[in-house]
């Protein structure tokens, strides 16, 4: 075989090796091409990388049971919600993209949507004590925890991956009058906060360097600025921590109350007076009759 044939064979082999979709590990390994891309868009790439790390950390919370033992096989994370329920189609976390992405950072962003799920459920007023206890137990069994409890209302936090399963369990404990589920995509806010933290840290480092070789007069000014930047950094880190918590744990509030309390003003009243006389107070008031 001649030298040209060998070169052609090697090129063909290299081409074959280069085929196929790069997996996540390959992406994380940062191929030279990706390195060049990352170099070109360093800020965005770094942010995406940290976003990926943060997402992994957040998603890991789903697998860590807290308190009571959790079911053996946790359900997959909820897909991106429709306007009424979190079961609709959409760019959910880990959802496969129908089109092969060209931009790896865009692929990361598409695959790593950070969504905060919140549910408010109104239940009929019956056996409220048992209902509150049942909701709390469902949260603990799901690896979640009790956030707040009042006479007729309870708020629990459950790992995001158990959100839908917990809702299904809660549905079984009573008569659900109303259900309101919201999904808030905070990916942009998260990325923005991370960039601001990164910039603040860089600024903090530069100010410290300047402080080391500054005169007394300059040092006073630099320390003032350093204090401001440090305070901003703490605020941003706190905000990021809160976002991570809200993403990792979905919030479910169950209220035992009639819907009519808030809807009475707008509700159509049927012209049948006897309807409003129905119910236990009228039936059980034996002394009123003459």
């Amino acid at each position: 075989m001649s030298g040209r044939t060998w070169i052609a064979a090697l090129l063909a082999l290299a081409w074959v090796v280069g085929c196929g979709a790069p997996d996540r590990a390959g992406m994380s390994a940062r191929s030279p091409a990706h390195g060049a891309y990352a170099e070109r868009y360093r800020g965005l790439a770094n942010t995406t990388e940290s976003l990926e790390t943060a997402s992994d950390a957040i998603f890991d919370a789903d697998d860590v049971p807290v308190g009571q033992p959790a079911p053996a096989a946790p359900p997959p994370p909820p897909p991106a919600p429709s306007p009424t329920a979190p079961g609709g189609a959409g760019p959910g976390v880990g959802a496969p993209s129908p089109v092969a992405p060209q931009d790896p950072t865009q692929e990361e962003k598409r695959d790593r949507h950070l969504i905060i799920y919140t549910a408010r459920i109104t239940m009929a007023v019956y056996q409220v004590e048992q209902g509150l206890a049942a909701v709390e137990k469902i949260a603990r069994d799901s690896g979640g925890y009790l956030a707040q409890k009042r006479d007729r209302e309870i708020t629990v936090r459950v790992p995001r991956g158990r959100f839908e399963a917990a809702l299904a369990e809660i549905d079984k404990i009573g008569d659900v009058l109303h259900r309101d589920i919201q999904a808030e995509d905070v990916t942009d806010e998260y990325v923005d906060t991370e960039i601001r933290i990164k910039n603040a840290r860089a600024m903090q480092a530069r100010l410290r360097e300047l402080l080391a070789r500054a005169s007394v007069k300059e040092a006073l000014e630099i320390e003032k600025e350093l204090a401001r930047v440090t305070q901003e950094l703490e605020l941003l880190e706190g905000k990021l921590k809160l976002l991570r918590d809200r993403i990792a744990y979905s919030t479910i509030t169950v209220t035992f109350q009639p819907r009519g309390v808030t809807l009475q003003a707008t509700r159509v009243r049927l012209p049948f007076p006897w309807l409003s006389q129905l119910g236990l107070p009228s039936l059980l008031s034996l002394e009123e009759e003459k």
Binding site: L177, G279, L283
Partner: protein
């Protein structure tokens, strides 16, 4: 006054008397006593523990069918008053009239109560059979309540076929 005139007056009085009383029939189970002088209810009976069974009659409510009234009652009790709807079943009265029974649960002063509403449409009237009480006492009295519910007649046999008086319990 001739004999025929006397007979005519007697028949008129009889027919008038037949029009009095309740347009339905219900039996009171042992352990319950019927309450007198009721204004909102055509019939009401109670146990010593306060488990109450009652019947309302709404005149001229033949405009809606049972499905309409079932939905109206459900919206009123469930959505407005916050009662938990535990079940909804088709039932049949003692005279064979089809109706709908709604079983609710509700907390009053932190304690669970049971409440049942059964609806029948007959004689251009809506018959509302209600039963309720504290859950524990209600559960004990449930066999009696179910017996009373089954005894309800809303479409009775004519007393005198000639008069076609579709009445119950009118004496």
């Amino acid at each position: 006054m001739s004999r025929w005139s006397m007979l005519g007056i007697a028949i008129a009085l009889f027919a008038s008397a037949a029009g009095c009383g309740r347009p339905f029939d219900v039996k009171t189970a042992p352990g319950f006593i019927e309450l007198e002088n009721q204004t909102r209810y055509a019939y009401r009976a109670t146990t010593p523990e306060g488990v109450v069974m009652a019947v309302r009659v709404v005149e001229d409510e033949d405009r809606g069918d049972i499905a309409f009234w079932t939905q109206a009652v459900t919206l009123q009790l469930r959505d407005v008053a916050g009662y938990a709807l535990l079940s909804s079943d088709e039932v049949t009265s003692a005279d064979g009239t089809k109706g709908r029974r709604l079983v609710f649960g509700h907390d009053q002063d932190g304690k669970p109560f049971s409440y049942r509403v059964t609806l029948f449409l007959a004689q251009d009237r809506l018959f509302i059979v209600e039963a309720g009480g504290a859950k524990e006492a209600f559960d004990r009295a449930l066999p009696s309540i179910e017996w009373m519910e089954k005894s309800v007649r809303v479409r009775c046999r004519p007393i005198i076929p000639l008069l076609f008086s579709h009445t119950c319990n009118r004496w």
